[in-house]
């Protein structure tokens, strides 16, 4: 069994983001593996462990420091990695999907491809679909349950109001993972040390000769104005809730 996992090197969701030059941000922040991708990594590694054979290969499009993210997923059990190097802060989903498709095809085809349903930096939610189009493979994202049954892949995803859909598709296929699929492991020290010796193959994005035909571009990035301090309601509990109800009904008119 050969499984590819696509991982993105993203700022920690708790990091402060300082915007510079309209469309960039200060990259001197803590970076992590995109949290959704970790569910994909965990699923892939568990599958190969259970099968007792096979290989999990991580693929990342990012800058040089993305190697740290690749090391962290190799510590989780990924066997080797490919880093497509680019210095762009925001590459389009179309471009990333093309780069992933090219290196996966060159490396040898996989039985499955796992990725996160979205990245937490640009929140695009579409790279799995675009990779599916490039590789001509079926895609389901938002996956909370996964199993293989013969030549079919069976997945579940959550739809409105807590209902769950089961879907069946051919294998190989692309899975966009989300929370609920599994509990990603915390690697122990021996695994972290072992990961340092695992291979990271670096490919310059320019060598892939990709034409970016995304049809969109980031024009501007602005910080979101946070609310200032809340108006604290005071008095007895009864006074407080009565005045809140009054405010919500009469001033805010939201109930």
């Amino acid at each position: 069994m050969r499984i590819y996992v696509c991982v993105k090197h993203v700022p920690d969701t708790a990091a402060n983001i300082n915007i510079v030059n309209d469309t960039g941000y200060d990259r001197q922040v803590k970076y992590v593996a995109n949290p959704y991708d970790e569910y994909g990594v965990e699923e892939a590694v568990t599958l190969v462990e259970k099968a007792g054979e096979g290989e999990v290969i991580a693929v990342c499009v990012g800058n040089e420091t993305s190697a740290n993210t690749l090391k962290s997923v190799m510590a989780m059990g990924v066997h080797r990695s490919i880093l497509v190097k680019t210095d762009e802060q925001f590459s389009s989903s179309a471009l990333i999907a093309k780069a992933l498709a090219k290196v996966i095809e060159e490396d040898g085809s996989g039985d499955l491809i796992f990725m996160g349903k979205q990245s937490v930096d640009s929140e695009g939610m579409q790279t799995p679909y675009r990779l599916g189009a490039e590789l001509n493979l079926p895609v389901v994202t938002g996956v909370v349950n996964f199993s293989l049954e013969g030549s079919k892949t069976i997945v579940q995803r959550e739809i409105d109001g807590g209902a769950r859909e089961s879907l069946s598709m051919g294998t190989p296929c692309i899975i966009g993972a989300t929370k609920g699929l599994n509990e990603p492991r915390f690697p122990k020290l021996p695994a972290i040390l072992k990961a340092k010796k695992k291979e990271i193959k670096i490919i310059e994005i320019s060598s892939l000769e990709i034409v970016d035909d995304a049809g969109c571009r980031l024009k501007k990035l602005e910080p979101v104005k946070e609310r200032s301090n809340a108006r604290i309601l005071e008095g007895t509990t009864e006074d407080i809730v009565n005045s809140l109800v009054k405010i919500l009904r009469e001033e805010e008119k939201v109930i």
Binding site: G142, D160, L167, V241
Partner: protein, 314 residues
């Protein structure tokens, strides 16, 4: 005048509430063409013409139930976009909406932006969250047509009565070897849908048990609200994941959000900071949530929530 398409998402033969706001958003860019996939366009025509849909397209493909074949559904919408010459296709960024809009964009080789808070047809740009709600990105769609999913509750519905032209459009799509939806398990459902709700009341870690959520449900009943949970409450087993609000849960944008026993984490706020009014109930006067909310109540949720329920009944 150009035309803007809207995917009329339905559930149980009803138009999803947030579709009406999206029709308004679309109407700012041209005449609105609605696309229906469940074959029941004639049933929806009357309510849609109240809101300004001038053409309503009943997309059908002999014998194919689009609700079972997401790829065929995306292909059908793409063919609709081409046949009716719309400059953009808008829809609700719901789980199903996002999936079908993405498949449509792929079939059209068109640019796509999901979970947008705004769309501007003067320069074909959209606004959407980056970095868990810490930044807003303006993205220019340079190719036409483009596809755009809108976060529910970003636009209010605005009545604009017109006469709507109902059009049956039969297509040929293939479902050979396609992804198939084999079953829907509604066991966990029956909850009021968080993303469509006007009011949400959420419990955090201190709620302490699944039984204690009844406290919030009592209050929610009076407010016609949906009940949410923080990740800490979900991970402690007090609530199902489908109730989780935040970065790794649902993104919501209600008129009123009442957070009970929430610390105010970045990741939770990533999912609800676009709410119109935020009320925080927390025992700790220094809790970070008080610096990110509109109204604060320093107090024990087990006391404040029942009192609030009572006050609302008056």
């Amino acid at each position: 005048m150009s035309k803007i398409g809207v995917f009329i998402e339905t559930a149980d033969q009803k138009i999803k509430k947030s579709v009406l706001g999206i029709i308004f958003a679309a109407s700012r860019g041209g005449d609105v063409v609605g696309f229906v996939l469940d074959g029941l366009a004639s049933k929806y025509k009357k309510s849609l013409e109240e809101y300004g849909v001038t053409e309503l397209v009943n997309l059908t493909a002999s014998g194919i139930e689009f609700s079972k074949y997401p790829e065929a559904a995306g292909e059908a919408l793409a063919q609709g976009v081409k046949a009716f010459g719309v400059a953009a296709l808008l829809g609700v960024s719901s789980p199903i909406g996002n999936d079908l809009l993405a498949r449509t964009a792929i079939a059209l080789k068109a640019p796509l932006a999901l979970d947008c808070m705004d769309v501007d047809f003067t320069d074909n740009s959209v606004k959407k969250s980056h970095f868990s709600g810490k930044a807003i990105a303006t993205i220019e769609m340079t190719a036409s047509p483009f596809v755009c999913g809108i976060r529910p509750n970003s636009f209010d519905a605005v009545q604009k009565p017109v006469t709507c032209n109902l059009i049956d459009h039969n297509l040929t799509v293939s479902t050979e070897g396609a992804i198939t939806i084999t079953s829907v398990d509604k066991k966990g459902s029956g909850q009021k849908d968080l993303t469509e709700a006007n009011v949400i009341i959420t419990g955090g870690r201190p709620i302490g048990s699944s039984e204690n959520f009844a406290l919030l449900e009592d209050c929610a009943k009076i407010l016609d609200a949906a009940v949410g949970a923080s990740r800490a409450a979900v991970d402690s087993g007090y609530a199902p994941h489908s109730m989780q609000v935040g970065q790794t849960g649902k993104i919501v944008s209600p008129k009123l959000y009442i957070g009970c026993g929430l610390s105010g984490s970045v990741q939770h706020f990533a999912g609800m900071k676009t709410s119109k009014v935020i009320v925080a109930i927390n025992t700790d006067k220094d809790a970070p949530i008080f610096s990110k909310s509109d109204y604060g109540i320093i107090g024990d949720l087990f006391e404040v929530v029942p009192a609030l329920t009572k006050a609302l009944q008056k």
